[in-house]
Structure formats: C-alpha cells, structure tokens
C-alpha cells in the first residue's frame, strides 16, 4: 500500500475543507486535500441564497443580534459561546472572501449587498434584517470556486477522486486515514499528524432530498465506527421549499425577496403559524406548517405540496398590505436578476416559469445539525467531558460544534464552513508543530480492505440499489418531519432488516478495479445505514419536541430533562453494532449565565431559553 505523509490531511474539498487547507498551509503546514470528487463538484457549490454576516451594509446590524438569532433558531440547544464566535468571526470571514475576489453583488454604495433570510432579525427579534451577503442565487458556487482558485494560487496539494474509507486510530490518537484511488481501485494510506474531516452531510438517507448523490456521510460513519460518538443526530433539517417530488432546493432567498407560500384555498397560511415573521419563520416551523396544511386537506389538489409564489403582482400586493414603500416593489426584471438559477431550475425541470406561475414545493431533507462533536477550534471531542481525540479535526456539516442546535438558520451553513474551517486550519498549523508523528500500525488498512473484498465477492440476492431505496422510504415515512415512538420503532425495525441483508445477502455486478462505482456505492450505503440507524435511535430516546425534532407523542420542549446534547456511541462491531445514547453533555449557556451574573432581571434576559415565537 502506498503511504503519503503530510502534516495535515484534509478529507473533503467543500467549503470547510478548502478553507482549512488554505489557512493550515498559510500557517506553514504541509497540507494534502483528499476528496472523492473534484473539488469544484462539492455540495457547497449548490448553496444559493447567501452567507449571513452582520456587516450592516443596508440595515443596522451587530454580531450579537446574529448570535441571538442563531441561538433562538436552534431552539436553545445551540452552544452559546460557539454561536457568539460564529457571528463575530462571520464578519471577518466574509470580508476576507471578498478580498480573495469573491464577486458579491453590490449596493449602490459599492459595498457587499445583503438580503433578508428566515429567522435573521435585528435588536433581538424586533424586525427582519438584511444580513445574507449574496452573489445572485449562487453564493455557494462562488465561495467554492473562490476557495479552490485560492488553493491553486497557493499550490495546495490535491488528491482528487481519492475516497477516504477508514481512519487509523492508534492508542486513542488519529494517525491518518485509508483511501481508495477511484481510478485504479488501489488502497493508499495518508499518514497525518492532523486529520481534518470535512465530508459533508447524509441527506441521501431520505428519499426526497436536496442533497447530492455524493452526500453519504462517509466521514461521520467512519468516525462513529472508530469510537467517536455522534452528537445530536436526531436533528435533521427539512427545508420547506424543495421542488415537488424531486427535492431540488428553492432558496429561502425567494421568500427573502418577498415570495409567499400559498395553499389550495389561496391563503398565505404562514400568517397563522408565525404572525410576525410569516414566511420567513425558521425552517422547522415552515416545514411543519406545510405538513399541517397537507393533513388538513389544504395542500394543492390535495397532493402534499403548496405553492411558492414570487410573481411580482402577488409579492407587491402583500408588500402594499404590509405598508412597504413602493420603492421596495419588485418587477419581472428583479426576479430575473436576483434569482436566475431558481428560474432556470423551474423552467428546466417543471416547465414552470416562476415569473408567471407559482412553483410547486414540498419539504425536502436538507441538513444535518448533528455530527462529529468538536470544540470551537474544530478539534474532535469524544465524550461529555470534552476529552479530545488528538489528531482528529472536523468542521462543516459533518461536524457538530454546536452552532445550529436543534435547527439551523438559513445562511449559517456557509458561515459555519468558513468560520470553523478557518479556525480549524489555523489550529492545525500550530498543532502539527507541537506534536511528533504517531507510528502507523503494521496492519493499517487491513480491516477495511477485507471489508471491501467482502462486498466485492458477495454472492447474495440483494442489490445495493434496492436496499438504498427501502432505507430512504422508511426514513421518509418514519423518521421525517413528524415522529412518534411507533414510527421510530418501525424505522429501526426496517433498518435492522436492511442491515442484516447488507451484511449477509449482498451482491454487486462490477468486480473490476478501475472506477468501480458499484462497489463504492455499496460501501456508501453501509455508511448511510449506520447514520440512519443512529438518527432513529437518538430520535426515539429524545422524548420531547425541539427545533427540527418534532414528536407528536411528546409535543412540548422539555428543558428539565433534555436541555442537553445527545451522544450516540457505537461499540465497534460493524455488522451488528450496539449503540448507546446518552444525554450527559450539557448545552453551553454562557451568555445567559453572564446575564444572570450581571443581575439582569429575568424578563430582560435575552439568552434565557424561552418559548420560541416567530
């Protein structure tokens, strides 16, 4: 097996990975980026509406307001210290992206333009604020391109189309990773002092998803199997506006520009669910509202979808009702200029022109709030006490800092990537100077090689495609927006049966070495099954409703018992694991505690967990 030795190994080349690569190499570390996709294919590139930062270019804004919105949006499961860092660092990070050449849209004062987004307000919920910095409706594309360009400029070493399939842990220290070179099928070992997981989410556990096919949670599954607990896995965000049946994302920026959700009776139903923020309430609230409208028989043609309407005549009518100035009114050209990609998606896939017709939308599985637990320097944490796994780092969707708590605010995924990617990169640059190399075990890679041979040689009757489809359906039906003990149990039973077939009855058609995507997809299915299982288990253990986790049999938030992060621990048995879930990890409430220490009266405390109203 070929061995590559670099100070820092970055696994995944999306926003978090590239940001970490840039800053670790600027800090003097010898960096290699290992990615199963060409970097510009990463899913960061599909993020549309914007990146939140309190620049205050159009409205008065401060990082503390962004912090508050992030904590409230997360239904108080957000770690408050981490949210403060997120909001404060966001300002510098966005300015740095502009300095790297990112082509943001501009205000009339030639500054970075900003738009409204769900849950982003000023003065602690007083009114919606323009905070999302945007480059048309392809902000993520611009971030990904800009970071990749800067990596080329800085001569960062890339191993493109190398898929990481295992991590090497020696006496509790992460000493490297094992990867398959997709073009040859050969195994390689990457020996690193620092190993940074930035592998993205696992939306492909569900049948209707905005996520790329590549989002199979490889990094989180690998870490889980090697002893890292996964945090807050029960919280998975369903974005309210996916294209009906296809799940392709329609940015919240549509509603940020004035678009409204309409049911079969022509009602703007969000007025009933969130009287103040209406269509720009947080995503969990809006997704639930769409399901409730559907249950009440008010979805369009009773088919489980609603209309998203950005037609200027509709938007301007509501603007007029709200007393907005005529200068805020939009016309066809505004829609074309501000939402070109959205128009393209609808015209291509639906034959619908949003300038003239409303778009059919339904909630779509979108974002994992949970993942590999880390501290604010992106160092991996392995227990409730905050013990580190030396050599292991993580950031982005695969990690859980936790800044998103029980529900992520729109734009905060991009903020998370650049803020914690950068912090992790800088931390790694210091870390690699301070530690010696950990020797690799002689049999490094042997176990995962054997696992791949098992999959390749399998002679059972089950195709990976069939098992995947069944997993996605049961997750959609039983571990979706609304949950009960009964549906979760059904989900766990189905997943157990699918795992049994995956380990004992699998076969693939392609036995060759070169670009064996049949083999890789089968292995990725194993990752998805593990993560689906942990999600369902954590969801069944959390007997309350909070943020994106909505239990119909436990409808209230229960701060007394569950104002805590869940940690799900795997016992290392790949084929038949035992998973233990605990709630011993307390939420960081430091901003609230500071208010108490300052003697601020309870009704004046901004950061006290209270009922969420939008």
């Amino acid at each position: 097996m070929q061995i590559h030795k670099h100070d820092a190994i970055i696994i995944g080349a999306g926003g978090a990975g590239l940001m970490a690569a840039l800053y670790a190499s600027k800090g003097g570390a010898d960096v290699a980026v290992v990615s199963k996709l060409y970097p510009t294919r990463s899913h960061t590139g599909t993020a549309q509406g914007g990146i939140g930062a309190a620049l205050g270019n159009l409205d008065d804004d401060k990082p503390i307001y962004h912090t508050y919105d992030t904590i409230k949006g997360g239904d108080y499961l957000t770690d408050q210290h981490a949210a403060k860092i997120l909001a404060e660092n966001a300002v510098d990070a966005v300015i740095e992206l502009e300095h790297m050449g990112l082509p943001f849209d501009r205000t009339s004062a030639m500054r970075i333009s900003q738009r409204r987004f769900g849950g982003h307000t000023r003065e602690f919920g007083k009114e919606l604020v323009r905070r999302a910095c945007h480059a048309a409706d392809r902000t993520g594309h611009m971030i990904l391109q800009t970071l990749y360009q800067q990596c080329i400029k800085n001569d960062v070493t890339f191993f493109d189309e190398f898929q990481v399939v295992d991590m090497i842990v020696v006496d509790g220290v992460c000493a490297g990773v094992v990867a398959i070179e997709l073009g040859t099928g050969e195994f390689h070992i990457f020996h690193g002092k620092a190993n940074f997981f930035a592998t993205g989410g696992w939306g492909r556990c569900w049948s209707v998803t905005s996520n790329a096919h590549a989002l199979t949670g490889d990094g989180a599954a690998i870490a889980l199997r090697r002893g890292v607990p996964l945090q807050d896995m029960e919280f998975f965000q369903f974005h309210p506006t996916g294209i009906y049946r296809m799940g392709i994302l329609i940015t919240e920026g549509v509603r940020g520009e004035g678009g409204v959700l309409i049911n079969d009776r022509g009602e703007r139903f969000m007025e009933r669910y969130a009287p103040s923020a209406k269509d720009l309430a947080s995503r969990d609230v809006v997704s639930r509202a769409i399901y409730l409208e559907t249950r009440a028989g008010r979805s369009i043609k009773n088919r489980g979808y609603v209309h998203l309407d950005i037609r200027p005549q509709t938007v301007n009518r509501y603007f007029a009702e709200e007393g907005k100035d005529r200068s805020d009114f939009i016309d066809d050209a505004t829609v074309e200029r501000k939402l070109p990609d959205i128009l393209d998606f609808c015209r291509t896939y639906l034959g619908v022109d949003p300038v003239h017709e409303p778009m059919p939308v339904q909630p779509t599985a979108h974002y994992a709030m949970g993942g590999i637990p880390t501290n604010v320097e992106a160092e991996v944490v392995i227990d409730a006490a905050g013990t580190l796994m030396p050599g292991a780092f993580a950031a982005g969707e695969t990690a859980c800092v936790s800044v998103h708590g029980a529900n992520r605010l729109g734009t905060n995924s991009l903020v998370d990537l650049v803020v914690f990617g950068r912090r992790g990169g800088l931390r790694m640059a210091d870390y690699v100077k301070s530690v010696d190399w950990t020797d690799l075990p002689k049999d490094a890679g042997a176990e995962i090689q054997a696992e791949f041979e098992r999959i390749r040689q399998g002679s059972g009757k089950s195709r990976p495609g069939e098992l995947r489809a069944k997993m996605q359906q049961t997750m959609m039906d039983n571990v979706g927006v609304f949950r009960t003990q009964e549906t979760l149990q059904q989900g766990m039973n189905d997943l157990a049966e699918l795992r049994e077939r995956f380990y004992n009855d699998l076969h693939i058609d392609d036995k060759s070495r070169v670009f064996n995507t049949d083999l890789m997809e089968a292995w990725e299915l194993g990752c998805l099954l593990d993560l689906a299982d942990v999600t369902a288990r954590a969801a069944s253990e959390r007997k309350e409703s909070r943020g994106a986790h909505s239990r119909e049999d436990h409808q209230q938030r229960d701060d007394e018992n569950y104002l805590a992060h869940s940690l799900a621990q795997h016992d290392g048995n790949w084929a038949a694991p035992s998973i233990q879930t605990s709630f011993d990890k307390k939420v960081d409430l430091s901003l609230w505690e500071a208010e108490i220490a300052q003697g601020i009266a309870e009704d004046q405390q901004k950061f006290r967990p209270k009922e969420r109203v939008y």
Partner: protein, 247 residues
C-alpha cells in the same frame, strides 16, 4: 413510455471489454419529465451495476455528468426525456481519453484551466477601514455571465478546434480567464491576455459557436471569447463590454 438506451461502453479492466462497444438497455414506465441521469441510475441500480459514470448534485450545478447525448454535449441531470424522445444514445464527451464507460480523463481539461491563472490577483494594500474593496454593481455585472461556469467541460469537448488540437486551452479556460480579466478589482489581466494571446490561446477559436449551445449554464461562451480577443487587439479591457449588454 418505454425508452431504449444505446450506451457507448468500455472497461479497461475486463479483457474482452477494453475496446469500446455499444450496449442497449430498455426501460419501461419512463415519465417524459425524467432526467437522463435518473434513467442511467435505473439501468445501473436495476439492470447492470457495472455501468459507470460520474454524477453528484443531479440538478446541473456541480458539473460532474457531462456526456454526449443524442450527439450533443449535455449534463445528464439537466436534460429530460421529453426533449429527446424514446431513443437515447449516450457516449462519453469527445476529445479527452475515455477511462471507463462514460468516465473520461479530466486531467488535460483542468491543466488548461490552470494555465490561465484562474485566481484573483490584487497585491495592493487592503482598504484601511478593514472592509471590502468597493465595486459598482454595473462593474460587477460586466463579468457576471462568466462567473456561472461550473467547469463541466461541455463547451471545450464540443469544440472542433479542441478536437483537432489538444494543446488549445479551450473555451472553458477562456471563460474562466474572462471572469478575472473583466473584474475591475483584479490586476493580472495583462498577464492573462499574454497567455491567451499565444498560438494555443484564443486565436485557435474559429467562432464555430459549438460551445455556446453546449453550455448547460447558458453562458454566451463565444461572445466571452470574442471579448477576450478584442481586449488583446485593443490592449485594454476598458470599453470592451458595452453597458447595454448589462442588465
């Protein structure tokens, strides 16, 4: 409806499959709104797991699944059955070495991309107030079209000049250079114009226009190449893009 697929295949790893060959597959219950990518997945997941292709986002943004579909370069995730009919022929894109089935070697493509300095250059001191550099929205819109490029290679591998001469940097690399050449904040425009003024730069373009309809992002590729040619001829990037062309 039923749809018949005819797919160009090879597998360098299997002795009797190393030479390219055609294989047919039939799919039932196809909807006119199905994407070609979904149908290729149905073939792979239900009939023959060895069918190999790249794909990721499945909605025309990541640029993984460029292929030649009924003779035209497309993203498989952005072309629907209703636009193609019941007989669909799929081949790898042309001009790059085929590795396996629909997967080609993208290295030469990315090497050309790297030739044009595809990164922002501005070595002047940052604004003293610690904030962003300033730019007007109309200056920003000068290069808006070329920022849409996703490096899928549909344009470059549709270009007869590239097929004839693999040393030609190709339309995609020129679009990437355009994105920086016409950005008022960037300072390396002259160096890029020098690279593109070389024999294997823009002058290999014979304005055949294959690149423009091939672009899944609707970038006016030939126009962008023309603007770069004009900038080289005039020795300036100012006044090339008319204000009328901007929204």
């Amino acid at each position: 409806m039923d749809v018949t697929f005819k797919i160009r295949r090879r597998n360098p790893d299997v002795p009797d499959r190393q030479k390219p060959y055609w294989q047919e597959f039939t799919l039932n219950e196809v909807e006119p709104t199905d994407r070609v990518l979904e149908l290729l997945h149905r073939i792979k997941w239900e009939q023959d797991g060895s069918l190999s292709l790249r794909r990721s986002c499945a909605h025309g943004v990541c640029g993984s699944d460029a292929m030649r579909i009924n003779g035209v370069n497309r993203l498989a995730c952005k072309i629907l059955v209703r636009d193609l009919g019941a007989k669909i022929q799929v081949e790898p894109i042309l001009g790059l070495p085929v590795i396996k089935d629909l997967i080609v070697d993208m290295q030469p493509f990315f090497d050309h991309y790297k030739q044009v300095m595809p990164f922002f250059v501005n070595d002047e001191p940052l604004p003293a107030d610690g904030r962003e550099r300033l730019q007007t929205q109309s200056d920003r819109e000068q290069f808006d079209d070329s920022t849409k490029c996703i490096l899928c290679a549909c344009c470059t591998t549709a270009c007869p000049s590239f097929w004839a001469n693999e040393q030609y940097v190709g339309p995609a690399a020129i679009v990437q250079a355009h994105r920086f050449i016409f950005d008022t904040r960037d300072q390396a425009g002259e160096q890029r114009l020098d690279v593109l003024g070389e024999p294997n730069g823009v002058w290999r373009c014979r304005t055949i226009f294959n690149c423009t309809p091939a672009c899944p992002r609707d970038i006016e590729v030939t126009k962008a190449i023309g603007e770069v040619k004009l900038a080289i001829r005039k020795g300036t990037t100012v006044g090339i893009i008319s204000p009328d062309a901007i929204h």
